[in-house]
Structures are given as structure tokens and as C-alpha cells.
Amino acid sequence: MATKTTNRNWKGRLALVSLSLFIFSSCIKEEKVVVNSSNAVISLTIPHFPSMEMESDKLITRERAELGEDLFFDPILSRNFDISCSSCHLTNLAFTDGLKVSVGTEGRMHNRNSPTLFNVGWHPYFFMDGGNPSLESQVIGPIEEHREMDLPFTEAIARVAADANYNEKFQRVFDLPVSAYTLSLALATYERTLVSYRSAFDEYYYYGDTLALTNQEKRGLALFKSEALSCVSCHQFPLTTDFSFQNNGLYEDYTADPGRARVTNNLAEHEGKFKVAMLRNIALTGPYMHDGSLSTLSEVIDHYASGGSQHPLKSDLIKGFTISADDKAALIAFLESLTDTVSYKKVY
């Protein structure tokens, strides 16, 4: 059994001994990639982000991440060899798919919208209802899910193991054969390298570049943080989420998707509660909400301004507000300033 050594002190020390890759620097616009050995441990230290929680056997190395990247783009993991992770998590859409709800193998419709995978390494649990504890075990989900890749995980392992090229790579990278442990760790490692931290907002807010945001965007930021709108209470900086489960008043009736209650069986306390969504790169990740029911940021703001539904579990923070056309444009401009055009570059 793998050890469960998730423990902050240990990680702190690891960060010190590992080859640190300081990928943010306000004065230098290019990443300083200081990785000179292919198996060097990459420590993703982003000064204005909390440190990434990781078990000691799950350190990021360039080789592991590259192996995970190969798998992420390879349809070998789907029953019909037709879709890969990247079919629904597209690089140019901040790892979303632009659809209301995702479409899996044989055109099967999912009931949820594909979320961004940027900064997924910071999530304390996965899926919109938080039913899954780790990036590793999350991997089984899309592979086995009927409406996604529809392949038993044991078969996926067997397929990858039967591929001479993968087999050689797994041995070299992990010194272990292809298994549930190594296959999931490779994919999870790649996902942990998907970081987004250098939007205009970051330059302005954390690195003192007063010109990084326009006056309109600054006004939008102030609205976002205002008492009246309270966006920041749930969409907390720096990650733009506090990862809590909230009912943001989208519906009166959540029978179609009860959110957190789906996994807790507790409708009385959890109905309609979803993990607070990340807003980084939000301009690229529409349509919005768990079911993609709102097409534009303008519709999203209209929703919050209306105060939403009368659902008994709706958060007290969703109380409605009036907003002028000018202020609405400013809020949208701010949300768009969360788009990060540099993080698409690899960090390894």
C-alpha cells in the first residue's frame, strides 16, 4: 500500500532540497526554466499562490510530466480509440471544450460542462461535487465513464502496457511497469504542471505593475470586491475560489443535478451546492456553470444581479444588486483580465 505522507513540514523541506523553478518574476517576462537534468524535481513555487499539496512519492519531474502529456493527448485510453483527455480539455480553451456539456465516445452526452484544468493541482478534491479525493484516482473517472472514454481501467492499463514505447518509457521514468499507480501518477503529474498565474490581474495586484490593468478593469476589480456584489467572498484570490460548496441560486429545482448532494445523499443540506468555480481564464472557458446553461459573462452577471432563485439553500451572499451598463462592462473587462496568455508555455 502506498504511504500517505501528506504532511506540510515534509513538503516544506522537499521544496528546499529540490531544484526550485521560480516561474514568476515581475521584471523578467520570460520564465527562467532552470531544469538541467531530465529527472530533476520541479518545484512549482509561485510566490503569490499557496504551496501545492503533494504526497512525497508524487513529486513532479520533467520525465513524468512528459509521459503524462503523451497519455493526455493519446486516444489509446478510449474504448474506440477516438477520444483523448484533450478532446474535452483543449489547450487553446484553457483546457475546456467550448460546449454546453461535454460529448464523449459515440456522441454520448455528458450532463456537465468541462471545467478548466489550469491550477487543478491546488484543488483539495475533484469534480464539481467534490466526490473524488485525488488527481490520481480522478483519472479512472473519465476513462471508465460511459459518456466519456468508456474503457475499463484495467483494460486501459493493459493496453498501455502492451505498447512497447510506453512500456519502455514507464520503466525508464518510474523504474516500474505500467500499473494503476504509475499510469495515474503520470497523468496527474502532467495535470499539476498546468498552472496559470500570469494574467494582467496578477501583474497589477501582486507585482505592483500599476499599468497592467486599464482604469475600466480596475473599476471592475473594485466592483468584484465590493460589499454589494461580494464576488470575492466565494471567488477568493489568488486562485479565484475558496473551494467551498455553494448554492449560487441558479435553480429552484435541482433534480437534474443535485450537486454535492449527489455524493452525500444529503439533499437537506447539500442540494444545488457546487464547488466554487475558478475564474482564471474565464473569458476562454464558456459556456458557464455546471451545466453550461449561461452562454456569456453578461448572462452570468445578469444572473447574480437578479439575486437568483428562491432555493432555501441559496447562499446569503447571493442577494441581487443593481448595476449600470457601464459598471457591467467594467466587471466583464476585469473578468477578462484574468486571462493568462503566457501560461500555455510549458513549465518543464
Binding site: 500500500m1 501528506t6 479512472i140 484495467t154 500499473s179 494503476a180 455524493v263
Partner: protein, 265 residues
């Protein structure tokens, strides 16, 4: 991973030191005081032997055929009459209709009073609602029962092991056409069944203690309306049926000590 390596190292150290102690002290052979414990399986459909993909008839004339009947059994323990416990191994077993016997290791000779185990996976290891416990991706050993299984014994979305997974089909008219599929995927911590069976038997070193676990798949469907009670994933709307089917499974499962005629020592 680390524990495994350390475990191996520790084992190596223990076995080397044990070698030194092995030097003969006297010529008297050391009495063998250990008892092999075997768990034998007996799967039935009423009075018939049970196997997958075989047609059986229920009392109401419906014909049924099972395509899947897999379950987890965990933490088998033998208790003596003073309350002393011997934890058997392996701790987790995945049981399918085609297995006949599991080797549960050894106990010391003496009185085997009770045999305790759970149907399902204990809550400390079972992850639920995003809590960390054990996950199939923790295992690089492809034979580990908690690793991924071909029939999928883990819910990634609600994160937890499926304790009992039973699927099949029913033919209501008995006309040779199967009309309806049934699927019972039973799990979550509340569903675990802790079982305790009286053995009340004395065993001597060198003997084998044979425990028999029987499941009657006719009993499992007894009192189930196969027109409506056909599908549950144990969650939400399916929860009530999930509880019922877990109780059905619990009723269908019996434990006994193999009678002395079969004792193979």
C-alpha cells in the same frame, strides 16, 4: 511505496536474525502449533449450484441469469473464547462465483470461537465524499484486491469501493427472451455488513480449519419485485433499494464450519 520497501527490509532483517536462532538446541522437533485457515465458498441458487450466465427459475416462473456477482470481504478475524483475536490475511478479498477457496493464513491451535469479517471495505480504507483513504490508484501490484478490478469495483465520482456488484437479466414469461436487465451496485460506508459467525470448535496444530461461506442467489432475489426493483447505484433515489438489496445479500450469505467429514487435516 516507501512502506512497502521498508516492510521488505524489515522482513529481511527479521528473517536473517531468525536464522541464527534456528541453530538446533535439542533433537526434539518443535511441535507445530499452527492451524491453517481456509475459507471455502459455496454458491447456490436454491438447491442448484450457482454460476454466472446460467438460467435459473424463480418460484414465480421468472427466469433469471446473472452476469456479475462480485463482492468484497474484508478483515477476517478468528476470535477465541477469551476474546483474543487473530487477524487473518489477506485483509481484503474480492470474491467472484468462480473461486472455490481462499487461503486465510494461520492461527494458533486452541479454540476457534467466532469468525468475524465484513462484507464491504472498512470505513478507514474506503474513501467517501472526497475524503482520503485507499484508492485503486495507490497500487502498483495488479493483484491487490483494492486495486482496479475488471468489473469496476470503485466509484470515482462518489469515491468509494462498490461492496457488492450484481447484474443480470430477467425473462418474465419464460419464453426465452430476456426482458429486463437488473443492476445492483451496493456501497458506501453505511452499507457495510459486519458479520460474526459462531464456529465453537477446537483445532490442533497441523490441522486445517475450514470455514464455509455460502451465498444463495435465489434467496438474494426472494421478495424482490423484478418488475420495479431492478436498478440501484446506492445513491440518492436508489438509496432505499440499495439498503434493501444489501440486506438481501446479507440474508443470502451464511457462514458455517465445514463438518468433520470434510475436514482435511
Amino acid at each position: 511505496m516507501k512502506t512497502k520497501i521498508l516492510g521488505l527490509l524489515a522482513l529481511a532483517i527479521i528473517s536473517t536474525s531468525a536464522c541464527k536462532d534456528d541453530e538446533p538446541v535439542s533433537n526434539t522437533p518443535i511441535a507445530n502449533t499452527t492451524v491453517q485457515v481456509n475459507l471455502n465458498y459455496d454458491f447456490n441458487f436454491g438447491t442448484e449450484d450457482f454460476s454466472l450466465n446460467t438460467e435459473y427459475t424463480l418460484d414465480n416462473g421468472y427466469k433469471v441469469r446473472y452476469s456479475l456477482a462480485t463482492f468484497y470481504l474484508s478483515k477476517p478475524v478468528i476470535m477465541d473464547d477469551a476474546g483474543g483475536m487473530t487477524a487473518l490475511s489477506p485483509e481484503y478479498l474480492i470474491v467472484r462465483p468462480d473461486v472455490t477457496m481462499s487461503d486465510l493464513g494461520f492461527m494458533q491451535e486452541g479454540h476457534a470461537h467466532m469468525f468475524n469479517f465484513s462484507v464491504g471495505v472498512d470505513s478507514a480504507s474506503n474513501t467517501e465524499n472526497g475524503s482520503t483513504g485507499v484508492q485503486p490508484t495507490d497500487f502498483s501490484d495488479p493483484t491487490h484486491p483494492l486495486g482496479p478490478q475488471p468489473e469496476g469495483m470503485y466509484w470515482t465520482w462518489a469515491s468509494g469501493y462498490i461492496f457488492v456488484k450484481i447484474e443480470g437479466e430477467v425473462d418474465y414469461e419464460g419464453d426465452g427472451t430476456y426482458d429486463q436487465v437488473f443492476k445492483y451496485h451496493l456501497g458506501t460506508n453505511e452499507f457495510r455488513k459486519d458479520r460474526s459467525a459462531m464456529l465453537h470448535t477446537d483445532v490442533k496444530g497441523g490441522e486445517t480449519l475450514n470455514v464455509v461461506l455460502a451465498v444463495d442467489y435465489k434467496e438474494f432475489l426472494n421478495g424482490v419485485d423484478l418488475n420495479t426493483e431492478i436498478l440501484t447505484m446506492s445513491m440518492n433515489d436508489g438509496r432505499a433499494l440499495g439498503f434493501k438489496m444489501m440486506d438481501q445479500f446479507d440474508k443470502a450469505l451464511t457462514i458455517s464450519k465445514m463438518d468433520d467429514g470434510h475436514k482435511n487435516n
